[in-house]
């Protein structure tokens, strides 16, 4: 299998890019893939925290670019999966320390020894975002079922189309089926209808995601978590497997059967 560079981006901040990167990377590693994550958010790094690798950082991506260390030295091995690595961002520099061609060069160097390179893009559509999408073979756009997040995602999709980056795939994160049912939240169909790109996964709202991020143990490793299951499914789809979408209404089975009986919808 040839190596694939995935970039996770969103436009709006706080929709779950970093969480998605950490979880997908862990899920792919669980499937035995060799994975390297790159934190593209120079100056505001946090993928290291979410992956629980903060205290192992010695060198970062700017050290690699400026020649202070070898690429291998900046790759931090994960605690659980020996084939999962993180290249952290520099916290004390800014986005101008990296250029799109630097990112392309680093990713090309990584291709030889990895199955997936996953880049965590910063929010926004400026330099850091440009750096992150430059080497991408495939772009995953993360959004929340919120009008503002969807509008920013739309902008990002427009830019990706203009730069001929292929068709991006969509992850709808933090969907709350109960709110959707009461018409208090955009449904997955609404979001898809607006963006018109291919859906690769819907992640339900789940408290264990936040707990996992704070502990540096991505939720995907928790076999019981529904969000974890959703991320595992997305990882399978990234590998080209056909996995059916989860029934997010599962927990309200009783309500559903009542609806069926009374014929209400």
């Amino acid at each position: 299998m040839t190596s694939q560079v995935l970039t996770v981006t969103s436009g709006k901040g706080g929709v779950g890019k970093t969480t998605a990167v950490a979880n997908l990377a862990n899920a792919l590693a669980m499937d035995g893939k060799r994975v390297v994550c790159i934190d593209g958010d120079i100056g505001l790094r946090n993928l290291d925290v979410v992956m629980g690798l903060e205290n192992r950082i010695v060198y970062d991506i700017v050290d690699v670019i400026e020649g202070r260390c070898k690429l291998k030295q900046a790759m931090i091995r994960d605690k659980h999966y020996p084939e999962l690595y993180l290249i952290p961002a520099a916290q004390t520099r800014d986005k101008n320390a990296v250029s799109p061609s630097d990112m392309v060069r680093i990713c090309n160097d990584l291709r030889a020894d990895s199955d997936f390179v996953i880049i965590d893009s910063p929010a926004g559509i400026e330099r850091g975002f440009r750096n992150s999408i430059a080497p991408a073979d495939r772009v995953l756009v993360v959004t929340n079922p919120e009008v503002s997040a969807v509008r920013d995602a739309d902008r990002v999709v427009g830019i990706l189309e203009a730069e001929e980056k292929g068709n991006p795939s969509l992850i709808i994160n933090r969907l709350n089926p109960a709110l959707v049912k009461n018409n208090d939240m955009l449904s997955a169909e609404d979001v898809l209808d607006l963006l018109g790109i291919q859906l690769i996964g819907i992640v339900p709202e789940d408290e264990s995601v936040i707990i996992g991020s704070n502990r540096g143990a991505p939720v995907v490793t928790d076999a019981k978590s529904r969000a974890g299951q959703a991320f595992r499914n997305i990882a399978k789809r990234i590998q080209g497997q056909d996995v059916p979408f989860m029934d997010l209404d599962q927990q309200s089975g009783l309500w559903k059967s009542i609806q069926r009986i009374t014929g209400r919808k």
Partner: protein, 225 residues
């Protein structure tokens, strides 16, 4: 060298630097610009650059390559001015400005004659952040998403959903109309009239918006036969 660099003229404007090119193939123009920059790196360091490329037709890749190259030298390309519609659209797609504050010299006004029956045909959905401006009518085969803008001196016809902002008759033409299959725009403007959302986005039906006899902007359901 002298010959190459004379293809491009750099001058200071209020918003940074403006590069103007003499007529030549893009590759030569590009090399001339790069040569100028590499000759005086300190002068260009941190600059905001606008380019006037004249009639040159530039594709996305041309502009992306140049922008990346410039950004590596800490120069930010923020505007591309062109007489070519393709180049303008490319620049807009990349989020670059296509106008600088100073109006272009006279020649701008004598761009091809646009009569009442000329229209710009846009065969795609306009996503957030896209802006289409045209000194005539505009037809869009696709949606106009929230955050996108269509500004026309004539009428605007959208074969799709409208969620963004449409301004028809932007130079004051009261007879301009806006038609769409689903007119749930955040804001419509015709000439100097502005109207906020006209109806809830339920049950979409084709509508036509125009200025009525009282001089107000009004949307009506499309009446078939």
């Amino acid at each position: 060298m002298e010959q190459i660099t004379s293809l491009v003229q750099i001058k200071g404007i209020r918003d940074g630097l403006l590069a103007t090119f003499a007529d030549a193939p893009w590759e030569e123009q590009r090399l001339a610009l790069l040569a100028q920059i590499d000759e005086r790196p300190a002068f260009f360091q941190g600059a905001r650059l606008a380019m006037d490329v004249g009639v040159q037709t530039l594709k996305v890749n041309d502009l992306v390559d140049l922008r990346d190259f410039l950004s590596e030298r800490n120069i930010s390309l923020w505007a591309v001015i062109s007489e070519s519609g393709t180049t303008e659209q490319t620049a807009q797609l990349l989020g670059l400005a296509t106008r600088i504050s100073k109006p272009r010299p006279e020649e701008r006004k004598q761009t091809p004659e646009i009569s009442d029956d000329t229209a710009l045909f846009v065969n795609k959905t306009l996503r957030s952040g896209t802006r289409v401006e045209f000194p005539g009518n505009v037809v869009v085969l696709g949606d106009v998403n929230a955050g996108a803008e269509v500004i026309a001196e004539g009428s605007v016809i959208i074969w799709g959903r409208v969620r963004g902002m449409i301004h028809a008759g932007c130079k004051g033409d009261n007879s301009a109309v806006i038609c769409a299959l689903d007119l749930s725009a955040t804001q419509l403007r015709i000439a100097n009239e502005v109207s906020a959302v006209l109806k809830p986005p339920k049950d979409p039906r084709p509508e036509i918006a125009s200025i009525n006899k009282e001089g107000h902007l009004q949307a009506e359901l499309w009446q078939t036969g």
